[in-house]
Structure formats: C-alpha cells, structure tokens
C-alpha cells in the first residue's frame, strides 16, 4: 500500500510551499489527527485549537521531515500530541480520571485504522503485547489520554513509585523488543 508514500509526497511538496499539496495533506490526515487531539483534550474547542496549531507547525516544519523519521502520520501525530499536551497542562485541571477504565483501554482501530498502519505500528503493537497488562495499560493511557504519573497513580490506586516503574520498565522492554 502506498498511503504512507502518498503522505510523504504531499509533505515534501508542502516543504516546497505548495499550498495545494498542503490542503490535500490536511484533507487526508486531519480527521485522524483530530481524533488524536480529541482523545487527549476531550473538548472539541481545545482539540480544534491544538489541531490548528499543529498544522501551522507542520507547514513550517515540513522541510524537517524525512522518511527515515518514520511514517509521516506518526511524525504529524507527534506534533499534534505535543500541542495537545501543552494545552492540557495549561488548563491545569485534572482530567476526570473516573472516565477511564484501566481494564478497557480503548485500542480499537477506526474503520481504516488497519489500512493506515505502518510496519512500525504493527511491530510496536506486537511488542506491547509482551508487556504485562498493567505496564501496557498505563503506557497506553498516558499516550492516548495524556495522563500524568500522578493521575495514573490516582486512577489505578497504586503508589506513584510503582506507576513510574511500570512505565519505565515497560518502555525499556518495548525498546528491547523492537531492537530484537
């Protein structure tokens, strides 16, 4: 499948300040990236702000993207996540952690999720399966919902130090697994 290639071509054209290509890139990627921001921020207005900020940045930084930096979707999603996390932390409000059930972290893919996935995503999912449930859940909650160590500890009714070590060891194992 050439989906990633297609996004790559559009990013490269955006780096040359091709407005048409950027518009096309937006139309292909924005719904997915909005989904990413919405999961972290929960509120539409805030998620739209994050998406807008991120696309302005993607336009300016498109020249920095190279295919050796991974999939274009992962690269753009990282920018969206950072903007979303900035906004989330500025809100200085604890997320309502009651909303999350650790046993049921939603890792379901959207209708075209599987089609959009890169090799890296597939390898990563496999490596995540090797972690124990708690390690995997806290990592996914932090990633998708933007929870902090404190919020994760509160939510899982676990000591802060334990949560931190689940995350640290979990990430170490993922790295080890990916390098195998």
């Amino acid at each position: 499948m050439s989906d990633q290639l297609n996004l790559q071509t559009l990013l490269a054209a955006s780096a040359r300040k091709d407005e048409q290509a950027f518009s096309k890139l937006y139309s292909l990627a924005s719904a997915n990236l909005y989904g990413v921001a919405l999961r972290i921020l929960k509120k539409e207005a805030a998620a739209q702000d994050a998406l807008q900020e991120a696309f302005v940045q993607i336009w300016h930084r498109a020249v920095d993207f190279h295919s050796d930096k991974g999939s274009p979707m992962a690269w753009m999603a990282t920018i969206v996540r950072y903007r979303s996390l900035d906004i989330l932390r500025k809100q200085k409000k604890l997320v309502n952690v009651e909303d999350f059930d650790l046993e049921q972290v939603d890792t379901e893919l959207g209708p075209l999720g599987k089609l959009l996935e890169s090799d890296m995503a597939q390898e990563l999912w496999q490596c995540l399966q090797e972690l124990n449930d708690k390690q995997r859940s806290v990592i996914l909650l932090a990633f998708y919902e933007g929870l902090t160590h404190d919020e994760l500890a509160e939510h899982t009714a676990t000591a802060l130090g334990t949560v931190k070590s689940w995350i640290r060891r979990g990430l170490q194992s993922v790295k080890g697994c990916l390098e195998r």
Binding site: M1, S2, N6, S27, A31, Y34, P111, G113, L115, G146
Partner: protein, 235 residues
C-alpha cells in the same frame, strides 16, 4: 541528575515523547535537547516508535472553520475547503491506495461468467466485486436496472463475530455513504430496488461492507471497520 547517563537519557526521552515528563522537568529537558544533537536523535527515535500508535486512532470529522483559520494564519489565498473527514478519508484511501483496475477487471470476468448461465441478454447492470485488502473477492453485488433487483452473490463465505452484522454501503465521491442494508456472510440475496435507489446506484463509484452491531449501524453511517470494498462498474 547526570544527563550523560545513557540509560537516563533513554528514559527521559521516552517519557518526554509519552508525555509523562511534564512541567518544569519537560521544559528543562527541551532546553537540554536544543544543545544536544545526539539527545535529539534519541527523542526522534522514540517519536518514531511511539508516534505510530496514533495511526490507528479513530478519525473524527473536523469542522471547516479549522482549515479556514489555518489558511488565514498561513496567509494562503483562501480556497474552498477541500473535502474532509472520515468519509473523504475512506474515499481517498480507496482512490489512492488501491488498484482499482484490478478490481474492475475481476468484476468484468465475473460478469462474463455469470452471463454464461443467464440465457437472456442482460444489459444495464451495475456490478461491484467486494474484496478484502488482500484482494480476495467476498461478494459480487449485481444491480439489475431492468428488473429493478439487487442480487448479492457469495464469492467466498466470510465469518463474522457473534453479535455483529455486515452492512453494505454505496458511496458517491464527495457524498456520505448510503446504506443498502445488511447482507449475509453465506446466503445469497435477491432484493427489490426502488427507483430512487436505482438512480443512486447509477451514480455510486464504490460499494463497501462495514462491520456493525447486529441490526446495523446505529448512526446511519459506517461505524465499524470497513474490510471489504469494490468499485462499481457498468456492464
């Protein structure tokens, strides 16, 4: 903290990317990375790894005003917002990422095959062969405009999780999918088509099958995975 400790550098970079490094520690780490190219590489490597988790997140339709604001901020000559959102994404993925010629060829082969067993000369039919991503044909959907029937042939029996149903959709570029109802994974169907539906089928470019809760999509639009798609061809 000793920021030269390789293990600590890895751990901090990973948590920076994950987002659990926050507040002053995050700012400090960002400043450190500005001065340290090797550290930026470690961060980039984690961004590449963890960032891929975002690829499968469910897409959500974005209001047009977001794109308008982006254009304004970047000083673009304002253009009409391009088609966006979940449906556009489905469309683009079909148009850009699939070999439709192959599908059309297979569709024609099937049509020829079926016509061998149909003594009458059949004209004015629209057919679609629904295939998996691996290009395995699953259903052949034949819309017979003369007899106003839609016939669903089983090409390969599919299995469906308990409590789920296959829902058939037709999609015209730029429009929302229109449901053609539920179809069975293993039983052929022969259904009447209204004039209104016939007109829509004529204009449809693609048919697709999504996996929905038993009883069909609760929203009137595909809500589950879309594992089967096929181009509509007139024969």
């Amino acid at each position: 903290m000793n920021y030269q400790d390789p293990e600590l550098r890895q751990a901090l970079a990973a948590e920076y990317v994950l987002g659990t490094l926050h507040g002053r520690a995050r700012k400090r780490f960002e400043r450190l990375a500005e001065q340290d190219a090797r550290l930026r590489q470690i961060i980039a490597s984690w961004e590449q790894k963890l960032g891929s988790l975002s690829e499968g997140v469910k897409p959500v339709d974005v209001p047009d005003r977001v794109w308008n604001s982006i254009q304004k901020r970047l000083g673009f000559s304002q253009t009409q917002p391009t088609k966006q959102g979940v449906i556009a994404t489905i469309w683009d993925s079909l148009m850009l990422w699939r070999s439709l010629t192959t599908v059309a060829t297979i569709a024609l082969m099937f049509a020829a095959y079926l016509n061998l067993f149909a003594p009458k000369l059949i004209v004015n039919q629209y057919i679609a062969v629904l295939q998996t991503e691996q290009q395995q044909a699953s259903w052949l959907i034949k819309s017979d405009l003369q007899n106003k029937r839609m016939i669903v042939h089983i090409v390969n029996e599919q299995t469906i999780p308990i409590g789920k149903a296959f829902e058939l959709w037709m999609i015209k570029e730029g429009d929302k999918p229109i449901s053609l109802g539920l179809i069975s994974p293993d039983k052929p169907l022969n259904l009447p088509l209204s004039d209104e539906m016939l007109e829509k089928i004529k204009q449809a470019n693609v048919m697709a099958v999504s996996i929905e809760p038993a009883g069909g999509s609760p929203t009137g639009q595909p809500t589950g995975p879309v594992p089967y798609t096929g181009k509509v061809t007139q024969i």
